[in-house]
């Protein structure tokens, strides 16, 4: 018998239809993938299942019994826990306090039993073979990937029968993503149901038993994983045929150096980095997570202190803050790692977010021209196909992938021609991913210079002209041509002798 059966599920937000008559069913012991393009309604669906949001119409049966959780606690009582796409952790608490938040083990006096909490945390981390985490570390000190892992631990701490993973791998580097996939199989083998949402086809292929495809809030198809091809899946997801994900790599780099970096250091994580990024080039930055990639991007953008020399288009510059980085046509723009913490004003509109960096451009005699602003906003929304009711919709209510598009659009509106893209396709659907890669190549052909980091290694391999492999805060190797491969990157990231 099916563990979960959903019929005619509907949810509207004002005039926006998030789900319309969606159906779904899944069994215990399977990994069930939920696929669909950005804004298809996947997150809304799992928010309803996990009690975070209430549906307008339709029915849900769990174990054949009616199920309509009023809040996440009610969902938990029925054995359902979710790892949300946008993390729900509290920065001021420690790792273990977050994991057990509101369900802390108590002493007889009802105070928190710290020893017991520590013991349970260690047992949990051990049982599922978690990557190293210090239970007492303050959450705000963790990277996005580490936070994602804590979020997963928090979900597992509830020992759920149904675990929902909403793009949990999107913030994880290769090794940790690999671990999560193994863990997912292990959970299914224990007889649990795992509902797995991801925009990475390879992952879905590796672990899903069955898959359900959403489009525009409705269920389009359900497949046994081994009876359907990638092509069919993608076509059903985006409603058209996708020829190829990665654009043809035509070399457009010129001899002109756009960004030259020498002996560049920042904090304890980045030391003595040298490289040159040429006009028309897409330069990949890879390596194992935590070897200085994040620090490199932030320091180049002026968001953290650094030493060394930077030349932009042949001129030495000093960049003390992001404002100086963004100035004019010779500037540098960044798509930051943390889209909610660094990229978007969640409580402001799509329009205000898109134009924030360039708002001065719409002023005449000191006064804003709303027409000019609206025209450019419309152009960008159409160009990137941002799925929003109107440009006045609050950025925080967009689907994850559409939030990422707004950040991308905000960067494109600046006139900077040196672009720092830190994981620009995180949470973006396949169709749009292909478009973003094509856009990157088009920009390069127009003379932009792009520094590109991705936590998804195949993207580096297929899109970048060259790849810098970072290790211990420095550049361990620069791969070109045939030497760019996943194996090549990994080897360079791990072997001391590969220094180039």
């Amino acid at each position: 018998m099916d563990l979960v059966t959903v019929n005619g599920l509907s949810k509207r937000y004002g005039g926006i239809v998030a789900l319309s008559e969606a159906t779904f069913s899944a069994r215990a012991g399977e990994v069930h993938a939920l696929l669909g393009e950005n804004g298809a309604g996947k997150s809304t669906f799992i928010q309803i299942l996990s009690g975070a949001v209430q549906h307008d119409g339709g029915s849900i049966l769990v174990d054949g019994q009616d199920y309509r959780p009023a809040n996440p606690d009610a969902a938990q009582v029925r054995g359902i826990a979710a790892v949300f796409q946008e993390l729900s952790l509290i920065p001021d608490l420690s790792v273990e306090q977050n994991i057990w938040f509101r369900h802390e083990p108590r002493t007889l006096l009802r105070t928190v039993n710290r020893a017991e909490m520590r013991r349970k945390t260690l047992a949990l981390l051990e049982k599922y073979n978690f990557p190293v985490l210090r239970p007492d570390q303050e959450l705000r000190r963790l990277t996005l990937a580490e936070r994602q892992i804590v979020e997963i631990a928090k979900g597992l701490a509830k020992d759920p029968r149904i675990l929902i993973l909403d793009e949990a791998t999107s913030a994880l580097p290769a090794r940790e993503a690999e671990w999560l996939l193994k863990l997912t199989r292990q959970l299914a083998a224990e007889g649990r149901l795992v509902i797995f949402i991801s925009h990475r086809m390879a992952e879905v292929r590796a672990i899903a038993d069955r898959l359900t495809i959403f489009r525009n809030g409705s269920t389009i198809a359900v497949h046994e994983a081994n009876a359907v091809s990638d092509n069919e899946i993608v076509t059903q997801m985006i409603g058209r045929h996708l020829d190829r994900l990665y654009p043809e790599r035509i070399a457009t780099a010129t001899d002109r150096i756009a960004l030259s970096v020498k002996n560049f250091s920042s904090g304890s994580r980045l030391s003595g980095v040298d490289f040159a990024l040429r006009e028309g080039e897409v330069l990949g930055v890879g390596g194992l997570q935590g070897h200085g990639q994040r620090e490199l991007f932030q320091a180049l953008f002026g968001a953290s202190k650094a030493s060394g020399t930077i030349e932009l288009w042949g001129k030495p510059v000093s960049i003390a803050n992001p404002r100086q980085a963004l100035i004019g046509k010779d500037g540098i723009a960044l798509v930051p790692e943390d889209r909610r913490g660094q990229g978007l004003l969640l409580t402001k509109s799509v329009r205000e977010n898109l134009t924030l960096s360039v708002i001065r451009r719409f002023t005449e005699n000191g006064l804003l021209s709303r027409q000019k602003e609206a025209a450019l906003v419309k152009e960008m929304v159409d160009f990137l196909r941002i799925k929003a009711g109107t440009p006045e919709q609050l950025a925080g209510t967009l689907s994850g992938g559409n939030q990422q598009k707004v950040i991308f659009g905000k960067m494109l509106l600046t006139q900077a021609r040196v672009l720092l893209l830190y994981d620009p396709t995180r949470g973006v659907d396949v169709g749009t991913k292909g478009e973003i890669f094509q856009l990157m190549r088009d920009l390069a052909a127009k003379g932009y210079a792009i520094l590109f980091h991705s936590s998804d290694m195949p993207e580096l391999v297929h899109v970048a002209d060259r790849v810098l492999v970072m290790r211990n805060g420095g550049v361990a190797a620069t791969l070109e041509g045939d030497r760019i491969s996943e194996a090549g990157i990994l080897r360079a990231a791990m072997l001391e002798s590969e220094a180039a």
Partner: protein, 322 residues
């Protein structure tokens, strides 16, 4: 139109509250709606409104200015001392004191934006220091009376309109332009919503923060001079009431005290609400102690009705987790 209402729900609410309060007050004290009484209500509200102008900018930017009482008080006393009851010195005294107010704001702003001192501590400290300076300066002795010109600005009339009401109107226009029509306004809302995102977006966060405190210093000093004209004299402690009322006016006007939202148009309604309230309470024939208690309680209630949290109970806020 409905989109406008939805986006500015709290401001509309503040004006609705103002009208209701007016009617209730008229019920208890007939004659409250008379022209002359309305006129004096607007004059009193103007003082609150002008101090709260700077406070609005600071609060939208995510800060708070606790130094307004003694910036106001210092400007009042120094003006009275320097002018000695004469009009002529105002030519240089007024610009000087406005610059002085702006300078205090600059110190506040630099302390907060460049040295990372929490706004509460920073502005509280300048407030106390100014208080001390003024006590040393005056030795507690009374000051000369206010120059006639200043009295004209605060109690005079042009036709049917109080001069100060017209000044307030002009300032409202300027504030509205700054918030709604200038790049500065966009930067300010972004800063108050998330300082990190603003910084990553190239917003000049430090400059924007400093500017808000400078504006607050300016309006507090200006209000101090006008208030001296209204009372005919400057005295110690005349600014004290404005700490609470300036913040309350901003909050009643629908701004989040955490920053990132609100508008001066809301604050204008807030200043009116507070002033009408002070007119209503005496009509209830309460002792002065009981009056303060009711005053405080009513403000608390008004602010919480307007605040997001309470609105959330009614409208069931949809905040998206994912």
């Amino acid at each position: 139109m409905s989109a406008f209402l939805a986006r500015n729900r709290l401001i509309v609410l503040a004006y609705a509250g103002m009208v209701v309060l007016l009617l209730v007050t008229a019920l208890f004290s007939p004659g409250f709606l008379s022209v002359s009484n309305m006129r004096s209500t607007v004059v009193l509200a103007a003082f609150v409104g002008i101090v709260a102008l700077g406070q609005t900018f600071v609060i939208i930017g995510g800060g708070i200015d606790l130094s307004v009482p003694w910036v106001l008080n210092s400007a009042a006393i120094v003006m009275a001392l320097l002018c000695g009851g004469q009009d002529l010195p105002l030519v240089w005294v007024m610009p000087l004191l406005l610059a002085g107010g702006a300078f205090i704001g600059l110190i506040n702003g630099v302390g907060v934006a460049q040295f990372g001192v929490p706004p509460i501590i920073m502005t509280l400290a300048t407030n106390v220091i100014l208080q001390g300076l003024i006590l040393v300066l005056t030795g507690g002795s009374p000051t000369p009376s206010a120059p006639a010109l200043i009295q004209y600005l605060s109690v005079g009339r042009i036709g049917a309109f109080p001069v100060i009401a017209l000044i307030w109107l002009a300032l409202t226009l300027v504030a509205t332009l700054l918030l709604s029509k200038a790049a500065f306004g966009r930067h300010l809302y972004a800063l108050g919503t998330s300082a990190t995102v603003a910084e990553f977006s190239g917003v000049p966060t430090a400059r924007t923060t400093i500017l808000t405190y400078v504006i607050s210093g300016l309006t507090a000093a200006f209000a101090g001079m006008l208030l001296t004209g209204y009372s005919g004299q400057a005295y110690l402690g005349m600014g004290d009431a404005y700490l609470f009322t300036s913040i309350a006016a901003v909050a009643i006007g629908g701004a989040s005290i955490l920053g990132g939202s609100g508008h001066y148009l809301g604050t204008v309604a807030g200043a009116m609400v507070l002033t009408i309230l002070t007119g209503l309470l005496p009509a209830l024939n309460l002792s002065s102690g009981a009056l303060l208690i009711v005053y405080g309680a009513v403000i608390l209630l008004t602010v919480s009705i307007g605040s997001e949290t309470f609105a959330g109970l009614g409208g069931k806020m949809r905040r998206k987790e994912s």
